[in-house]
Amino acid sequence: MPRLFASAAYRLAFTYTAACTLAILLLGSGVYLAAGTAIHQQQDDDLRLEMNVLTKEYEEGGRPDLIDKIHQRELSPNNDFRYALFASKQRLYGNLDVARPAAGFSSVTFPQPNKSSDDARGLLMGLPDGSAMLVAIDTEDLGRLDKTILILFSIGFVLILALGIVGSLALGRNLKLRLDRITKTAQAIADGDLTRRIERSGSADEFDQVDASLNAMLDRITSLLENLRQISSDVAHDLRTPLTRLRGEIEAGLSGPAEPDAMRGALLRALEQNDSILSLFAAILSIAEIESGKTVGSFRAIDLSQLVGTVCDMYAPALEDSGRPFSFSLIPDAVVQGDPELVMQAMSNLLDNALAHTPEGTRIHVTLARDQGGFSIHVADNGPGIEEADRERVVRRFVTLDRARSRGGHGLGLNLVSATMMVHGGKLDLGDNRPGLVVSLTFPDFSPCSSIRDKLPAQMPSTKCERKVLPLM
């Protein structure tokens, strides 16, 4: 028992049962007392009524008629009343063998043939000729009724108590089992098994909802951890190559001829390698920062029309100078919720790619268009495109299609775009431009108070319904 009470679930169930039992006890006692009072009242009313009948008889025909009436009523089989007519002290008539009580209601005891005596309730009333009339009714039946009620009530009470205890045990056990599932899962996770999840009951009740949100939280933590683990291993793996090159350059500089020009050349190459490592590092860190969802806190309403215009304007001279005709078409008022610099960087990465991975003469076109339920930015070119089989792979971290990485890319550009789109609740698609590649960024619409929140990732804090667009520059 003390072990049961150590459990909050059982304690709760038992407390509830105890409270219910107490309430039933109070209710039962109340009913019992009220019923008793009502029955006594009824008895007194019956006595008064009977007395009325008799006094009326007396008023009409005097004592002889009264005695007749009493006689008649005593012989009637359904009559429970007993009578006595007193002269002054002396009983004149009637089957109630008692001494004259005081006037009004009183308790009387009368002898019974097969028992010693019986209790009755009596009403005595004086008559005008100095005699007095006593009408009484046996209270033994009433006592029996009282006792029956009491017994029934006690049986009921004990049954309820027993059911309550059984119910408490069942309820407590149920609560405890459901909480134990959470505890066991938490324990397993604490012990290192991150794949464990709480078994759902499928009932959609509060416990099931708690289980669901805990599982969702665990999924999110696991994906963040997985992400972190992936990044650490990527970093460990992909930094090795440029670090080896850096080391090689320095070593070559040291072991080569001690001429200033040779040294200078080696140092310059080492510096180049170093900067390449740093830019790789910066890219990894910003992807990690985006994926962690930290940037979501600073999201605000941004006008894609203005932003895409700015980036196109920034890139137009460089693209044209490289011999790639560049054009763009925008629609006004494309307001979405987001981080302007992240979206600009995503756009920049796409245009950097378009420049780096297409031959001279390739046409590049940027379109901002309204899409169903949002806005899309399409960066299209008529260059060599990407094989369908490679389109999904190329979005992953450190994947570059030209094996030698001769263009100096780290294979992180599209991954950053993908992470950016994910955190904006949108998506990145690579498609066939027949010929060439078309990369599409789709953003959910940001109309104030629209159903945007359903489309945004779970970590998105609720945003105020403002349609305030801050100028970019």
Partner: protein
């Protein structure tokens, strides 16, 4: 005396010698920054902790302060706050290993005038220091700049060379203003990206170079000299004299 000779030489090249406070706890980094600054003619006072920085700043005046964000005793942001509370108006450049947007915003909010993420190139630091010192105090921004024969009207966003109006694209105008404000001193690619486009990432495409080349050809149209000078691996500089 050595200083005086140097100052004259540098002043002729259009570079002004500045008194700079450098607060950095790492000995090697401190020495590298000191060497870089003194090689360019600046006078440097060093501090290796927040408390020392506050002490040094209280007893001397500086043209520019370079403050590391992470210091062993009092962190850089607190030092910055304390200096601003004391009413110091010295331009302060915050150096930090923390490069995220939030970190940058918190740094600038604390009263820093510029923010440079470690690791940085020395030329970048030198260019920033020069730009910071010359930055006009708030409310005193000139509405018209005259560099050689080029006149820039900041309010009307118009440019004339020898009285001849030049049709500049808005972005080209912004680039020219940044160059003109720093006339005689280099402006780095990063500074253009941060101040003209307000971006803090580094596009691999030569966006700055292409815009400058357009600005340059418009400025040169019909003239035989180029007012913009390319500084290899650094950026661009506007020449102050022909």
């Amino acid at each position: 005396m050595a200083h005086d000779d140097r100052d004259t030489a540098l002043n002729q090249a259009g570079i002004q010698a500045l008194d700079i406070l450098v607060v950095e706890d790492d000995l090697r980094t401190r020495e590298i920054i000191r060497a870089g600054l003194t090689d360019n003619g600046h006078r440097v006072r060093l501090a290796e902790s927040g408390s020392q920085a506050l002490h040094v700043a209280a007893e001397s005046e500086f043209d520019v302060a370079i403050l590391d964000r992470m210091l062993p005793d009092i962190n850089g942001l607190e030092v910055l706050g304390e200096l601003r509370r004391r009413g110091t108006r010295t331009p302060i450049l915050l150096l930090s290993a923390l490069g995220s947007v939030n970190d940058r915003v918190s740094g600038l909010d604390s009263g820093a005038d510029d923010y440079l993420v470690k690791p940085f190139a020395m030329v970048e630091l030198l260019a920033r220091v020069g730009a910071l010192h010359r930055r006009p105090p708030l409310g005193a921004v000139p509405t018209r700049i005259m560099i050689r024969d080029i006149e820039v009207d900041m309010l009307g966003r118009q440019v004339w060379r020898r009285g001849q109006a030049l049709p500049l694209h808005p972005r080209e105008f912004d680039l020219l203003v940044l160059l003109a404000r720093n006339a005689g001193r280099p402006v780095t690619r990063k500074m253009f990206l941060e101040q003209v486009w307000r971006i803090h990432y580094d596009p691999t495409t030569n966006v700055v170079e292409s815009h400058i080349s357009r600005l340059r050809s418009k400025l040169r149209q019909g003239f035989d000299d180029d007012p913009i000078e390319t500084i290899q691996n650094v950026g661009y500089r506007m020449r102050t004299c022909a």
